[in-house]
């Protein structure tokens, strides 16, 4: 497969995962606005902003215990993360970039995949925060997330399992692992001391991962931070767990022949093995979970560069390497 096509599919996978990740978090925020305490709402906003590495509009978030202010603040923040075109990590931007990569690589995906994604894009294009806020913002996030799930379902039943498939999925799962570790880090960093508040925050974290029911089934309704982390990080049966994401990365990589540049190609495989071993065997029961997650996050970023070097931008005499960011027609940023 043409390197640039593979790279386009890889980025498409990344952006759509990013879109869905934001949808889940914002759905949670939108429903928190209905009945959760102001403190929890602000905690949620801080966690989102920290996890995507972005400053909220207006700088530091100060809790305002006035409901009206909280609502007004939340509107601004949700708009920034949903429809702000100048924010490259808003839902609007991520979906547009995912769709743009699909448009450029449309000959590499199935017609059904393209159509599903394009319809979703056209729908979101025509909306603004005002449109979704007054009725039910949750349902917008739920629908957008469901549309991406539909896209992925269509992909799994219609897409030819060539290298393009593996690269799309690699993008998807590497992005998921990175976002997941970043979210957990942000959660730990924003740590709450008060037991009751803390329980609420961990519960909302479980909901963000769609892991609340799984937690109840495996443990109990009693929220224990160590168990929550264990579920979200090392449980191979939880679809969104870090462990599951890394296993999927390894599986997709195994489906690909080694890249033309053997150095980074071998290094990438070794690195995936190492991260795999970490999440399977070396999760510290106690101790510094933050350090562990930071390490995984760094490794995922490194993996991205290794794959880029091995498959997309390997050196060829007489050929300029493709720019990863900001180049003509190339849509992606790490």
């Amino acid at each position: 497969m043409l390197s640039r096509s593979a790279q386009g599919l890889y980025w498409m996978g990344r952006y759509l995962e990013r879109t869905q990740h934001l949808c889940r978090l914002l759905e949670l925020q939108a429903s928190a606005l209905v009945d959760r305490p102001v403190r929890e709402i602000y905690f949620g906003w801080r966690r989102i902003y920290a996890s995507v590495g972005r400053e909220p509009p207006g700088g530091v978030l100060e809790i305002d215990f006035d409901d009206d202010f909280t609502l007004a603040d939340s509107y601004t923040l949700a708009d920034d993360l949903t429809f702000e075109r100048l924010n490259s990590c808003s839902i609007w931007s991520c979906l547009a970039l995912g769709r743009e990569n699909a448009r450029q690589m449309r000959h590499c995906i199935s017609g059904e995949m393209w159509m599903a994604l394009n319809l979703s894009y056209l729908r979101v294009q025509g909306l603004s925060m005002q449109d979704i806020w007054t009725t039910s913002p949750e349902s917008f996030y739920i629908q957008t997330s469901a549309e991406i799930n539909t896209f992925l379902g269509i992909a799994s039943t219609t897409m030819y399992r060539d290298d393009g498939w593996h690269f799309m999925r690699l993008g998807h799962f590497i992005e998921r692992a990175q976002l997941s570790s970043a979210l957990l880090l942000a959660h730990l960093a924003a740590g709450t001391t008060n037991k009751e508040d803390s329980d609420d925050d961990w519960t909302s974290l479980l909901r963000a991962y769609r892991a609340f029911d799984a937690y109840n089934r495996r443990y109990s309704v009693e929220v224990h931070p160590g168990r929550v982390l264990e579920l979200l990080v090392i449980d191979p049966m939880l679809p969104n767990s870090l462990c599951q994401s890394i296993d999927s990365v390894a599986a997709e990589l195994a489906g690909l022949a080694p890249g033309p540049d053997t150095g980074p190609s071998v290094a990438a495989r070794r690195l995936v093995d190492r991260i795999g071993a970490m999440v399977h065997d070396y999760w510290p029961e106690r101790g510094d979970h933050g350090e562990f997650l930071r390490q995984v996050n760094d490794y995922c970023r490194e993996l991205h560069y290794l794959l880029t070097a091995a498959y997309f931008e390997y050196p060829v005499e007489g050929l300029e390497p493709h720019p990863t960011t900001g180049g003509e027609g190339q849509v992606g940023s790490g």
């Binding site: 497969m1 390197s3 640039r4 448009r103 022949a257 033309p260 005499e317 493709h322």
Partner: protein, 486 residues
């Protein structure tokens, strides 16, 4: 829906109705269907068709100052229908014309030139085409001189613009460089089939959906010797090109990679592309990049869209380039005037498809005639396409004509003129009513080692009332075109 308000004008050929208002024989089923449908039903069909284009992202892109604007090419839901017999005549005419044009290109560039002091093409030496018409043509590529295209195929993909008047079909333009529009032919067909299902089945329409396969066969025939399973790539200028949708679409139809110049390199005179498993040799390049940009070592050195060394690899026969560079000399608006003479000269036959009468302003008597009759003529710039830089005499003001006349006087060789044609009209759905609009036709002729024509065309429509300009950049749209089985 009734046709009471349908404005039939006997001086203009109507594709559906005879001058007395009865439908042409082959349009009977279409007439019956339209008569049975209500205005609301037709509007519903039109909306569904337009929506399907938007949903599927069948667009052309217009780039403004800040962001890209993806536009849908307007489609009219009523098909234009043609009988099998009429089509056969067009098919023969197109085949004949392309054969002559390829012989002309071989004569202009190839080794068969007269071996006299000036190395003139035979056709120039024999006084059929004037020397300066060829030599001064901006699309003439001296770099290709002395080269003979494999199998004599300079033009493998041609999109000829045909118009019909009360006197029959005329060739308006030969597009021999990178003709576009075939994806709209296929998209229009898909839309028409799903919206007029019963009519389509009843009408026994000849299929065009195999275009991709036919194109693939054509490209394979041109692969370098000994490459039985050639790797084919479609070279696009990139996502910012207005026809990017078509490039992507054709790559998909061909099962080919869609490459940009930066994906390719020439090494030891072979062409390779960068893939996830290493460099892979490319055998056939269907290029949608203009001559000037295709190889910075030979043509424009500032081009970033091309591949250094590509032309050399092509000349050595290590890669096929479709179409060959330099073919623009044969679809130049001045050279066009001589195509019927070429047919006679190379093939010893009369042209089956006639030209539109053309006055070359480079000839003093034609210049005088043009300036004296500006109000009745269409004047075109030789180097322009897409309907730009044109004066349509009857639709112009005296001021515009004076201004244009100045330009023509300043550079007579840069202009040609033609009588304003009464292009035929076809029924279109406009604001819930069926009204006639002017149409043209762009069939696609493919030639590898033999000629293949899919029985269909991109039918362009001037959607504005009275307008003769069908170009999508200027308010034109498209409609499906049906060739019926006999």
């Amino acid at each position: 829906m009734d046709f009471d308000a349908y404005d039939l004008d006997p001086s203009i050929y109507d594709e559906m109705f005879l001058p007395d208002g009865t439908p042409r024989e082959h349009c009977g089923p279409l007439n019956e269907t339209l008569t049975q449908l209500t205005s609301e039903e037709l509007v519903g069909i039109q909306e569904r068709v337009t929506r399907s284009f938007s949903d599927e992202g069948i667009t052309f892109t217009v780039y403004g100052d800040d962001e890209a604007d993806e536009r849908i090419i307007p489609i009219d839901c009523l098909p234009r229908v043609m009988s099998g017999a009429e089509w056969r005549n067009i098919e023969e005419g197109l085949t004949q014309r392309l054969k002559a044009l390829n012989l002309f290109l071989d004569d202009v560039y190839g080794k068969s030139r007269i071996k006299d002091l000036y190395g003139k093409p035979r056709i120039v030496h024999d006084g059929v085409v004037p020397d300066d018409v060829v030599r001064d043509c901006p699309q003439y590529r001296e770099e290709m001189r002395g080269f003979s295209a494999p199998h004599g195929t300079w033009v493998a993909i041609c999109g000829t613009d045909l118009v019909r008047t009360n006197d029959g079909f005329r060739v308006l333009e030969d597009n021999l460089r990178v003709p576009s529009g075939v994806s709209y032919m296929l998209a229009n067909r898909k839309a028409a089939k799903s919206s007029l299902r019963r009519l389509y089945r009843r009408s026994r329409v000849r299929e065009v959906e195999n275009y991709g396969r036919v194109l693939l066969e054509t490209l394979r025939e041109l692969a370098p010797e000994g490459r039985s399973e050639p790797t084919i790539a479609l070279l696009t200028p990139g996502v910012y090109n207005s026809a990017f949708y078509e490039h992507m679409f054709l790559a998909q139809e061909l099962g080919a990679e869609l490459v940009e110049g930066r994906d390719l390199l020439v090494s030891d005179d072979f062409v390779y592309m960068r893939t996830t498993t290493g460099l892979r040799r490319v055998d056939v390049i269907y290029r949608r990049v203009d001559d000037d940009f295709v190889d910075p070592l030979v043509f424009r050195p500032d081009s970033l869209l091309g591949v250094p060394g590509l032309i050399h690899a092509y000349k050595l026969g290590n890669v096929a380039l479709v179409n060959a560079p330099g073919t623009g000399v044969a679809d130049d608006k001045s050279v066009y005037a001589y195509v019927p003479d070429m047919v006679r000269y190379y093939l010893g036959e009369d042209a089956i498809l006639e030209n539109v009468e053309t006055y070359l302003c480079r000839r003093p008597e034609d210049l005088e005639y043009t300036l004296d009759n500006l109000q009745d003529l269409v004047v075109k710039r030789v180097g322009e396409s897409g309907g730009y830089g044109m004066l349509i005499g009857p639709h112009s003001s005296a001021g515009e004509r004076d201004e244009y006349a100045e330009q023509v006087r300043a550079d007579p060789a840069g202009f040609i003129s033609q009588p304003t044609l009464a292009l035929s009209r076809s029924p279109c759905l406009i604001d819930g009513r069926v009204e006639p609009r002017h149409v043209d036709l762009r069939p696609f002729v493919l030639h590898g080692r033999r000629t293949r024509i899919v029985p269909g065309a991109f039918c362009r429509v001037a959607l504005r009332r009275g307008s003769l300009v069908v170009n999508s950049s200027q308010g034109g749209g498209g409609k499906d075109f049906w060739v019926l089985e006999d």
